[in-house]
Amino acid sequence: MTDVTTTPADEPEVEAEEAVREVPFWQRLVSGSATWVGLILVGLIVVFSLLKPDSFLSSANFRNIATDAAVLLVLATGMTYVIITAGIDLSVGAVLVFSGVVSAKAMNATGGNDWGVIILGLVVALAAGFGWGLINGFLVAKGRIPPLIVTLGTLGMSLGAALVITGGVDEREVPFKLITTIGIGRAFNQIPWLVIIAFAVALVFGVILAGTRFGRYTYAVGSNEEAARRAGIAVDLHLIKVYALAGTLSGLAGFLSLARFSTTTIGAHDTDNLQAIAAVVIGGTSLFGGIGTMLGTVFGVFIPAVLNNGFIIVGVQAFWQQIAVGAVLIGAVYLDQLRRRSQDQR
């Protein structure tokens, strides 16, 4: 800062003004959309717990819910970044499949059942996801092709490539050790490693989003790309990084899926992209960019998961879950629109 205009003000005065001008933390908490989504989630848990206290409200059941949601949470973590930049990534499910396929192929080609092979598989999965993410980011940032089209294209390409590699037949073999540890293993015999990994990923990238310059630039690019560019931010490079991150996390999700199901599940991920987008949007992230939190995304992942599980337990047809999630999704976007409209009227 130059000293042209910033002669230091009297310290006590500044302190006093701070109290007036800073909205208290609790007030921001109450007005934050993540808080409301969290309350909805808590409300659902309470309702199902009251209806079926012994079967819903058990550690085994919560473990089930969390395990089912783990892979989706990893996808949604990357998707949160992409959507905050006002982009979209439809390719995550297909990149998940592709990464799982090449990872399984690499591990089986090497053979063996030790950590070396597993780490090789992980690296291959991450690299495959990173590669597709890089392609997405480059085409979006440098090619100026709308993200919807770019990632629709790479969705087809990566899924097609996975089918070409496997001939359309699932790779049904992965190192046994991978299944027994990451796949179905639990820390302290209680918490599944899958869940720990997924939450660790969400936590780390949530902290990066909220606290670092990388996160700040992600919001800035999504809020006003031109303003970010004029502020000297390398917008194109940043977009490439964000899509590469989403791709890499899709690769990780592919590896986790492999560990859990011990097969590549080629045909089972057609709606992963939409589920991830729905989770992120339900969590309060705006499709128009610039707004969103990782905490909201975590809630947004678990609302459909809890609904699904709860409906089954209370004996409602599980198909109702899709209807309920659809309604929640539309409601979330409607609230976002209302918020923007009230701001624009100023």
């Binding site: 800062m1 130059t2 042209v4 205009t5 910033t6 002669t7 230091p8 003000a9 500044v14 003004e17 701070e18 001008r21 800073e22 909205v23 921001r28 990066i208 606290g211 670092t212 310059r213 990388f214 700040r216 919001y219 800035a220 999504g222 809020s223 006003n224 031109e226 303003a227 970010a228 560019r229 004029r230 502020a231 000297g232 931010i233 960019g289 610039g290 707004i291 923007r340 701001q343 624009d344 100023r346």
Partner: protein
Amino acid sequence: MPEPLLEARGIVKSFGRVRALRGANFDVYPKEVVALVGDNGAGKSTLVKSLAGVHEPDAGEILFEGRPVTIHSPLDARRLGIETVYQDLALAAELDAGANMFLGREVMRPGLLGKLGFIDKQAMRAQSREAFDNLGVALQDTSAPVATMSGGQRQGIAVSRAVTWASKVVFMDEPTAALGVVQTRNVLDLITRVRDQGLAVVLISHNMPEVFEVADRIEVLRLGTRVARFRRGEVSMEDVVGAMTGAITHDDLDRRDQDTPGEVTP
């Protein structure tokens, strides 16, 4: 008259078939307020964006403190000490005032956290608050998104940002266009204060009384070229308007490098 601080020579800029600048000249001297006036479509904003690194000129030369410089990006302009208040303000509406103030030049946390890329939001908020206080920008809540603020407050943030970071020149593209009477007064006072503190201010405006109040000199742009230069006190408002509309030509103070209106400079 001293050496110009910033000189634009024969700047040409086309957008497709539209020739926005046709060999425009422009001078900024140290510690002055120079008004850049012209009718709609005269090329004022394009000229400013060319000098701020937003557009790259197709042809022409830019001299800064006498030496030729290239301004390919906003970062280049920033390194020269040039800051701009854009007509659209270039604020990220979802970020708070402090974040906008420090956009692209974030303060990092001390120590290891800073090395890991963590930003010091507290420090940035405190410094922004200080700058807003000094410049008389009233914000109820510096942690609220800019989108929730009034037009005047947004303008205040954009102006504060530019004058805080500029060390040589501040461009202001219609800084009072969205403002009420009191806020306009504040911005005009601010312009003279910034000038008195040693910066050069380039004021782009349609508002003649405003221009005559604060500008030391006036340069008139018409159809992408400079058609006249005036010193305040040596010209009437009618003459300036005449030069803007083309009713009066050849009023240039300095006939040696006068541009002919409509002339096409390669």
